[in-house]
């Protein structure tokens, strides 16, 4: 042990050395630059400032810090000047002020070390000769993205005549006739000359001279320029997010970027209390525990979950789902190694970086957003029989026939009874009982403002989601307070979030109980009382099974809910050491407490079994109480350095060190035996349930340091390098420190002369990156050999301990080598934009089980074997078909496409063993085998030649290519991949004056699906099964499409055949699907009118419709345990 420790320590030292070396290099350069300015600061006259896109206040603070000048100006002037960028060294205050106020309608005056800013005296009207005719010209000034630019200066060339643009970028100017040249300028943008001959309306788009805020990439650790960033990513602004839906952040993101893929959950539909499964760029992990591999692919996806980072701190998927969308300023999805390497062992599955809104300086602003959300159950995928069809089916399936006379007689009587019911009009539509139209509402109030060196923001929100199953709901209360205080060149920020969540599950149980209920039965008896039992079996074996009324349990007192409270506080200090060097330190602390309660009344039908008869009769009723606790902290210190040398060499370097710890605990107690049905309190239980209390614990720590260097030459060529050393408590003791790195290169072709000369190309950028990242989605103590004490068992008066498993001190993270080639283009002033990425993700050292001879005491241990490759293409394009500012008309269409090929390159012996076991498995479900050379989603079934019209039996093709009637599991072959070949979104945006229409559709094509409905509800119907019983309700195809008599060319086997249907290629179907994800109509009220009439800044009304329709080539039931819902909402946003 000691030896190992020393070895590791020296390893650290050598890495540290490397880091130090790079550091000193940077520091050396820094000093060379800083020293003169330090000297000059002595005489308190010379000023050096390098600020990009900041408010005047910030520059003023800088000047005040460097000199003993103080400033005086009104907030209006501050706002009028807007955001500016300045990069000067060693100039006097007057030079600086001239530069700052150049082209601005303000002037200054220095009086005894006090700089006073004021409006420029209006000169034009006085100077204009009376006889000169005036021309009125209107216009609008925007940036390259067509976003309006308020505060831009529009000047008549060569004169002092000019105005500032309004808040929406518009201006109106009276100019003397004959002057035809306007100069439009805005700090940080290239000034533009516009000829106005013969025009009375102009629109001007200014191009960036330097970076603007949209061109900044937020990686969660560093802030980088998009222009010289080699990583593949998607940035989503708050507006885009709003336009993409009104449900939760996760669905909105996936509506925008298809590579952020929410796996469709057929089982849980629109259950508000289900966490979705998400993958970015394909699956890279196999389930850690091979024995857990189920035939359903959905189980395996949790280990592919991306990392969520909020303002620099890791947050859980649940937090993101419950987060208030209104707090979000911007979301960045990092996909390739260049972008994710700095997250080291957590980066391989992709990263979602969420940046929250910061308050804006200015007067107090109050904003409100409220919406009413309506959810309507969607049963279109259900194709169930009505009572008449059901009875017809029962007769066709020969259910009312028996060889024995007496039984036959009884069955005939039963048929007649049922016929009477059908004729008298009984046709219960069971689906309607457990559902409702859920009407939820959501409110958010936000207050922000600030002045001088103190900014603040606070918000409170409430979101009440009402699911479509009765009484299922999710309520979130969110509060947030943000402060920022600036003291000279040090900025303090504190951000506090509190979330309280309460979730209720429906007492109506699983939706599938209602889809199975026979329409011939009625839930209420003739007197209107609820039945407990719908049907009692006859004495013979061939008879309807005892069927309970699913509505009955819902009427009992029950409790099935959970809640949590989460508090997160992030504190940051930012110190602008000098113009080039910034140090930022963060500390985030999160604490979450949760509980869940599940109470089943003693009358619940699940206690009608043998376990609760006799002596155990009084043990009916159960209560499960769990409580959870989580505490985590994360601290980091980041040093940023930016400098331009000789105007062409731009260097950015960042160094960051971080440390984090996470601890989780949960306890579960079960009790039973409730004397009365309505005693829904744990303390009323008469006994603890059999067994012992249960608890889980996980605890992990990590520490790391990151170096990031970015170099740009002449804004044409750029290179990125990131390196990370990370130590994690989850790794085995032999391999505790892991290196991760990435390198990227890019070329801004549009800055090359030969492209510049071509008109119409605004952006043309090529980038390439390669790097290695890791993932460590495994439990905290997997690397250790540990012992556990026996709990219940003892030995006389002694206690005993046992080994839990063979630890693996060599256990390490999964390594993903990720290559990405990307192309970004913008043509014709941004009218057409297109991005294309090709990636190749190669994951090695997959964590799986290794089988051992069982004489080792354990059947397997965890090790790093296995390789998976994901290759794919992502394509995104957007086109403005109409962009007419005069008529205020914009119409754009866009779409994206994703394609991914997953392939297993290597598997462990444990998986091979499991494969051989699965190949012997007989059953109706397909096998998902992990086979080398195949995708992880490959469906293995026996090839089918269809139903023989003569016999109604299925004909198979065995592995030797021969026809056979016998199904042999060994004949299973790959029959399609359960992953679409291509998928993506189509979107369109239409804006006319104040009305905006957004529509987003998603599509999938070319994937194969094993149609479970056909298996469960049409074919694999068994008299002995409780679930797919012929007496319960079935899909209409069970009546219409099954073989009934010789000569029938049917798709499904003999209607009278109740034998098991085995997995065959008949049920593997190609899926092409189209879904209208989101439709949004938004109306913004006219600002002037609002200002005058309502004293409001902003008011808009939005209408949303989500999941409006779903078209698929496969007729399959969706939303089995919980139905899918269509969602409509109306929202109102206002700001005062």
């Amino acid at each position: 042990m000691k030896k190992k420790w020393i070895r590791c320590a020296t390893d650290e030292k050598s890495t540290l050395k490397k880091l130090f070396f790079s550091f000193f290099l940077i520091l050396f350069i820094c000093e060379a630059i800083i020293c003169p300015s330090e000297l000059s600061a002595q005489n308190r006259e010379q000023i050096s400032i390098n600020k990009k896109n900041v408010l005047l206040d910030e520059i003023v603070k800088d000047i005040e810090a460097q000199t003993d000048y103080t400033f005086m100006y009104s907030t209006d002037i501050g706002n009028g000047i807007g955001r500016i960028s300045v990069n000067v060294t060693n100039i006097s205050i007057r030079q600086l002020m001239d530069l700052l106020l150049k082209d601005k309608p303000y002037t200054y005056q220095i009086d005894n070390k006090v700089v006073i800013l004021k409006n420029k005296p209006l000169q034009p009207s006085t100077q204009t000769p009376a006889d000169q005719k005036k021309v009125k010209i209107n216009g609008i000034v925007t940036d390259a993205n067509r976003d309006p630019l308020p505060g831009a200066a529009v000047m008549l060339k060569g004169t002092k005549i000019g105005v500032m643009t309004n808040y929406d970028g518009s201006f109106e100017l009276n100019i003397p006739e004959g002057n035809n040249l306007l100069v439009v300028s805005f700090l940080g943008m290239k000034p533009k000359e516009v000829d106005i001959t013969g025009k009375n309306f102009i629109k001007v788009a200014l191009e960036n001279a330097e970076l603007s805020i949209n061109e900044v990439v937020l990686t969660g650790i560093f802030k980088k320029s998009r222009e010289s960033y080699t990583g593949a990513l998607t940035t989503i602004s708050a507006n885009e997010l709003k336009a993409a839906g009104n449900r939760n952040i996760l669905t909105s993101i996936s509506n925008i970027d298809p590579s952020f893929n929410i796996v469709d959950n057929l089982d849980y539909g629109s259950d508000p209390n289900r966490l979705p499964d998400i993958t970015i760029r394909g699956r890279t992990s196999m389930d850690v525990n091979v024995r857990n591999l189920q035939e359903q692919s959905s189980v395996q996806n949790t280990s592919n979950l991306p990392l969520f980072i909020m303002d620099g701190f890791e947050v859980s998927l649940q937090r993101v789902m419950d987060m208030d969308e209104e707090l979000v300023e911007n979301i960045t999805i990092l996909k390739d190694a260049s972008a994710t390497a700095m997250y080291g062992s957590r980066g391989a599955n992709g990263i979602v970086v969420i940046t929250l809104k910061k308050p804006e300086t200015g007067k107090l602003r109050v904003s409100y957003k409220g919406s009413i959300n309506i959810e309507i159950p969607d049963f279109t995928s259900y194709n169930l029989m009505n009572a008449k069809e059901k009875l017809e089916y029962e007769k066709a399936a020969n259910l009312f026939y028996s060889l024995y006379n007496t039984t036959n007689q009884n069955l005939q009587e039963l048929y007649n009874k049922r016929l009477i019911e059908v004729v008298r009009g009984v046709d219960t539509y069971w689906l309607k009982y457990p559902v409702r139209t859920g009407i939820g509402n959501r409110h958010n109030i936000r207050v922000d403002g600030g002045a001088d060196n103190f900014n603040y923001a606070g918000s409170i929100s409430y979101n009440n989601i009402m699911g479509v199953m009765k009484e299922s709901s999710r309520d979130n209360f969110t509060g947030n307070i943000f402060f920022q205080y600036t003291l000279k060149n040090i900025k303090f920020q504190n951000d506090l979030y509190i979330i309280y969540n309460k979730n209720n599950n429906s007492p109506y149980g699983s939706f599938s109980e209602y889809t199975r209920a026979n329409p011939i039965y009625t839930p209420y008896d003739d007197d209107g009382h609820l039945k407990k039992i719908l049907a009692e079996p006859l004495a013979s074996s061939n008879s309807p099974r005892k069927a309970g009324n699913p509505l009955y349990n819902a009427t009992l007192p029950t409790r099935d809910d959970g809640s949590y409270t989460s508090i997160q506080n992030n504190f940051a200090i930012e110190w602008n050491i000098n113009a080039d060097l910034t140090l930022r330190a963060n500390l985030g602390i999160t604490k979450q407490d949760s509980r869940s309660d599940k109470y089943l009344s003693r009358d619940h039908t699940s206690f009608d079994t043998g376990d609760y008869t006799g002596e155990n009769f009084n043990m009916r009723g159960s209560y499960t109480y769990s409580t959870g606790y989580n505490f985590s902290y994360e601290g980091s210190a980041t040093l940023n350095y930016t400098k331009t040398f000789n105007k062409v060499h731009q260097l950015y370097a960042g160094f960051s060190a971080n440390i984090a710890e996470d601890k989780d605990e949960s306890y579960t107690i079960q009790a039973r035996g409730f004397s009365a049905s309505n005693m829904t309190n744990l303390g009323m239980a008469s006994a603890y349930a059999v067994g012992k209390p249960y608890s889980t614990e996980s605890h992990s720590r990590r520490i790391g340091s990151i170096l990031n260097i970015n170099y740009t030459y002449n804004r044409k060529y750029f290179a990125d390098f990131s390196g990370k050393m990370e130590g994690s408590s989850k790794f085995g003791s032999n391999d505790r420190i892991a290196p991760f790195w990435s390198a990227g290169f890019g070329w801004n072709l549009h800055n090359e002369k030969f492209i510049k000369n071509l008109n119409g190309i605004n952006t043309l950028r090529l980038r390439f990156s390669y790097g290695t990242t890791g993932s460590q989605n495994f439990s905290s103590f997997q690397a250790l050999t540990t012992y556990r004490y026996f709990g219940e068992e003892n030995y006389k008066f002694w206690n005993g301990a046992y080994m839990l498993g063979l630890g693996n001190p060599d256990l390490s993270w999964q390594k993903t080598n990720h290559a990405d080639i990307g192309l970004e283009t913008a043509l014709f002033d941004g009218r057409f934009r297109m991005n294309l990425d090709y990636y190749d993700k190669h994951t090695k050292a997959l964590l799986t089980d290794i089988n051992l001879p069982t004489s080792g005491g354990f059947s397997s241990y965890k090790a790093n074997v296995g390789e998976v490759s994901n290759k794919g293409i992502e394509f995104d394009a957007n086109l403005f078909i109409i962009r007419n500012s005069t008529k205020h008309l914009t119409w754009s269409v866009g779409g994206n496409l994703a394609h991914n090929v997953n392939k297993i390159l290597k598997i462990s012996n444990a998986l091979e063993f499991l494969n051989s076991e699965l190949m012997e498995d007989a059953g109706p479900n397909p096998s998902f085998l992990y086979k080398e050379g195949q995708s992880m989603n490959t469906i293995f079934v026996v090839r089918s030649l269809g139903i023989d019209p003569a016999t109604g039996n299925e004909l198979f093709l065995n592995r030797f290519g021969e026809r056979t009637y016998t199904w042999d599991p060994q004949d299973k072959v790959p029959c399609g991949v359960n992953e679409p070949k291509i998928w993506g979104n189509l979107r369109t945006m239409f804006r006319w004056k104040n009305i905006t229409l957004n529509a987003i559709m998603s599509y999938r094509a070319g994937g194969y699906i094993y149609n479970q409905t056909l298996v469960d509800k049409v074919e694999n119907i068994s008299l002995s099964s409780a679930v797919n019983n012929p007496w319960g309700n079935l899909d209409k195809r069970a009546l219409y499409d099954r073989w009934q008599k010789p000569g029938d060319r049917a798709s499904f086997k003999n209607i009278r055949d109740f034998g098991t249907t085995y997995a065959s290629s008949r049920f593997v179907m190609k899926e092409n699907a189209l879904n209208l994800n989101s439709l949004n109509l938004n109306y913004e009220f006219n600002k002037e009118w609002l200002n005058k009439k309502l004293k409001m800044d902003y008011l808009s009304i939005g209408l949303y419709a989500e999941d409006v329709f779903y078209l698929s080539t496969i007729k399959q039931e969706r939303g089995l345990s919980y139905p899918f819902a269509r969602k409509f909402s109306i929202s109102i946003s206002a700001r005062f």
């Binding site: 042990m1 420790w5 320590a9 650290e12 030292k13 540290l16 130090f20 550091f23 520091l27 000093e31 050491i577 140090l583 210190a637 040093l639 060190a657 614990e697 605890h699 992990s700 720590r701 990590r702 520490i703 340091s705 130590g727 994690s728 408590s729 003791s733 505790r736 905290s780 103590f781 050999t785 540990t786 012992y787 556990r788 004490y789 026996f790 219940e792 068992e793 003892n794 030995y795 006389k796 008066f797 002694w798 206690n799 005993g800 301990a801 046992y802 080994m803 063979l806 630890g807 290794i850 089988n851 051992l852 001879p853 069982t854 004489s855 080792g856 005491g857 354990f858 059947s859 241990y861």
Partner: protein, 486 residues
């Protein structure tokens, strides 16, 4: 600038100490390094092995009541269930495979726990007090030999068919992840390993408290509370209850069993006699044959005879449903039982009389059933905790088989059998016939009958009905999880 240096220095400092910081102690588990750091830890790991042996996967049910007894045709199997498959030696059924898989794994899991302790104990020798180093190591090594011998008796060939150079079973003495070190050894190697380990254990256990104190003293730790130093009590609580620990005599008894298995009757007799004649300091026998009073108290597992047993603290909740559920397979037909216990001849058999071993109950709509009561006290609601693995009566049988048929009389008297059978032991054949009957009566539900058949390679079972048995039936198939590496 100074500030930056300070910050960098702090970061550097924290990095160097990070390895320690990254080493997290789990709360629900204990690391190997930590548990095997104290004498108590070693004690706990050894006890853990016994507890595992007493779980239903091994001697709490499977390896004494279920598997060998079903193969010996002692129960009434229910067709198309596990009990029928095992009774018919049909080990290709999935249920059977997984049962054998479980038993195999549990045996070796117990062994790996013992090995983890044995590997560490020598380095920590100085830490132990009260002779616990020898005691713990001796028990662990002895138990390792015992368990491997049990595995060999199940998965090995019948002794008559053993070819010493053939592969038998793995004999594992280390904790390893190297599959090559976990493969089967030859019979010769396995047998050598077993006896070597037993000899080592015997040496180490030469100061076993069982040699110093009587079982009566060792089984009443309650008197320890007001400890009287003048009285002969062990100083360490860990030294009590030697019968449920792999004690010095358990080593000898296992040796007797072992030598008989390999056909060395001289050494088998020698060891069996050493157990039979073991005396306390006051001259009384260490182990005494159970008598009428014990049987009358429902102690049909005869605690005074137990040379080695395991304490199953969950016996009631596991065994009661096995023996007393309607439709259980663990019953036997009255007529067959009367034959087995020779009820007309031995009317006073202390085990069989007064429905002591079997309780006849009428189950409505199902019929009459004889429920097995050996493990349950008279009210059948609670079960005994000590599951016997080696009893004194077996030592008597071994001695009888190895030429001391005179000792059989002591057993016969204790069980109150008819005296006429003393005279029937005239030839080895007659002895074998008598012992077949006595093994069945004596070890019903304890799993020894099957090994008697196997050792003497019976090709036909005659009780309860005639059943032909082949050589292959005697040898359990090695589970696939092991055999795929072989």
């Amino acid at each position: 600038m100074k500030k930056i240096y300070i910050i960098l220095f702090t970061i550097a400092l924290s990095l160097t100490s990070c390895n320690k910081w990254l080493d997290i102690q789990p709360e629900l588990e204990i690391r190997q390094k930590q548990i095997l750091e104290s004498e108590q830890g070693f004690k706990d790991v050894l006890i853990g092995a016994y507890i595992r042996m007493a779980t239903p996967s091994l001697y709490g049910l499977n390896t004494n009541i279920v598997l060998p007894e079903l193969m010996a045709q002692h129960w009434t199997p229910v067709s198309n269930t596990l009990s029928a498959y095992i009774s018919n030696f049909d080990f290709s059924q999935t249920d059977c495979k997984s049962l054998l898989e479980t038993i195999w794994l549990q045996y070796y899991q117990t062994i790996v726990n013992l090995n983890s302790l044995i590997e560490e104990i020598d380095a920590k020798k100085d830490m132990f007090t009260n002779g616990n180093y020898e005691l713990i190591k001796g028990e662990a090594i002895g138990l390792r030999a015992f368990l491997h011998f049990e595995i060999l008796r199940f998965w090995g060939d019948a002794p008559a068919k053993i070819v010493l150079s053939n592969k038998a079973i793995p004999y594992v003495k280390i904790v390893t992840k190297d599959p090559n070190k976990l493969l089967s050894l030859t019979y010769q190697e396995v047998l050598n390993n077993i006896i070597t380990d037993l000899d080592t254990a015997q040496d180490l256990l030469s100061n076993d408290p069982i040699l110093t104190y009587s079982n009566a003293v060792l089984n009443s730790p309650g008197t320890l509370a007001g400890i009287d130093k003048t009285k002969p009590y062990p100083a360490d609580e860990y030294h009590f209850f030697r019968q449920v620990r792999f004690n010095y005599y358990a080593v000898l008894a296992t040796k007797a069993r072992y030598y008989l298995w390999i056909g060395d009757q001289t050494k088998a007799l020698e060891n069996a006699l050493a157990v039979i004649t073991a005396k306390n300091s006051d001259g009384t026998s260490k182990f005494t044959l159970g008598d009428e009073s014990a049987a009358n108290n429902g102690q049909l597992t005869f605690p005074t005879e137990q040379i080695f047993a395991v304490d199953n603290s969950l016996s009631t909740q596991t065994l009661t449903p096995v023996f007393f559920n309607n439709y259980t397979a663990y019953t036997q037909n009255q007529t067959y039982l009367n034959t087995a216990f020779e009820s007309t001849l031995h009317t006073s058999d202390i085990r069989y009389r007064n429905s002591r071993l079997w309780e006849n109950r009428v189950i409505p709509l199902a019929g009459n059933f004889n429920f097995f009561k050996k493990y349950n006290s008279t009210d059948s609601k609670t079960a005994v905790r000590d599951m016997p693995l080696i009893r004194l009566s077996e030592m008597y049988f071994i001695a009888t088989e190895c030429g001391r048929s005179d000792l059989f009389r002591d057993y016969r008297i204790a069980r109150v059998l008819d005296a006429s059978i003393d005279n029937s032991l005239t030839s080895p054949e007659a002895i074998k016939d008598r012992l077949e009957k006595e093994y069945r009566k004596e070890f019903y539900g304890e799993g020894q009958m099957f090994f008697f058949y196997k050792r003497l390679f019976f090709t036909q079972f005659t009780w309860p009905v005639v059943k032909n048995v082949s050589e292959a039936n005697y040898k359990l198939p090695i589970p696939q999880s092991q055999s795929m590496f072989e």
